[in-house]
Symmetry: C2
Subunit: 113 residues, 2 copies
């Protein structure tokens, strides 16, 4: 019975974990969740990311359907990135793993082990 | 405010996601959760994994403290692998991500998109 279950869960989970596990993606998603919408805001919110990589990650996350890119018709035109429903649910789905990492792998994790 | 948060969460989350994202680790953990304890049971429970890789993954997961290796003093001696508290909490933490993957990336995910 459980053999079937493992096989069944595998491909979608692997794709999900690769999406959030790709370097910077988790941080970019959390920045969006926490209020960043413009390129310049993400650049400040994700310390250490390069301009080139941020542009690449925003495009990837848009293509994956987790971020929605909007063009605000102001002068000058503004581009914003906001979480889609899919992205918002991904952030929620990832929170328990963040909490687990902090508890078991973060600073002071030795105290729990 | 949120800039700080993103930075703070990063390293432990990245380590967590790499642990569960490494090929086969998720499946091996789910097999353990679903009742596999012996090497031969994991081999059946995780279709497609090679004997060499399974041995390697079991060792890695034991070293990461998520599986506990026990030697049962029978004749012949039996080796079992069971989830530690850390491992059990990891399985729980990963479930929402599995569900997200099934909903948004699994077969029929287009219907939701």
């Amino acid at each position: 019975m459980w053999v079937e279950s493992v096989e069944h869960h595998c491909p979608a989970f692997q794709a999900a974990v690769e999406l959030v596990g790709r370097r910077w993606n988790g941080a970019v998603l959390m920045a969006a969740e926490l209020g960043a919408t413009r390129y310049s805001e993400f650049l400040v919110a994700v310390p250490g990311i390069s301009e080139r990589l941020l542009a690449q990650r925003l495009r990837e996350l848009e293509q994956a359907g987790v971020l929605i890119r909007s063009v605000v018709p102001s002068t000058p035109v503004q581009i914003t990135y906001t979480l889609s429903e899919k992205g918002s649910e991904l952030v929620d789905a990832v929170r328990p793993l963040i909490a687990w990492g902090e508890r078991w792998l973060g600073e002071g994790a030795v105290a729990h082990g």
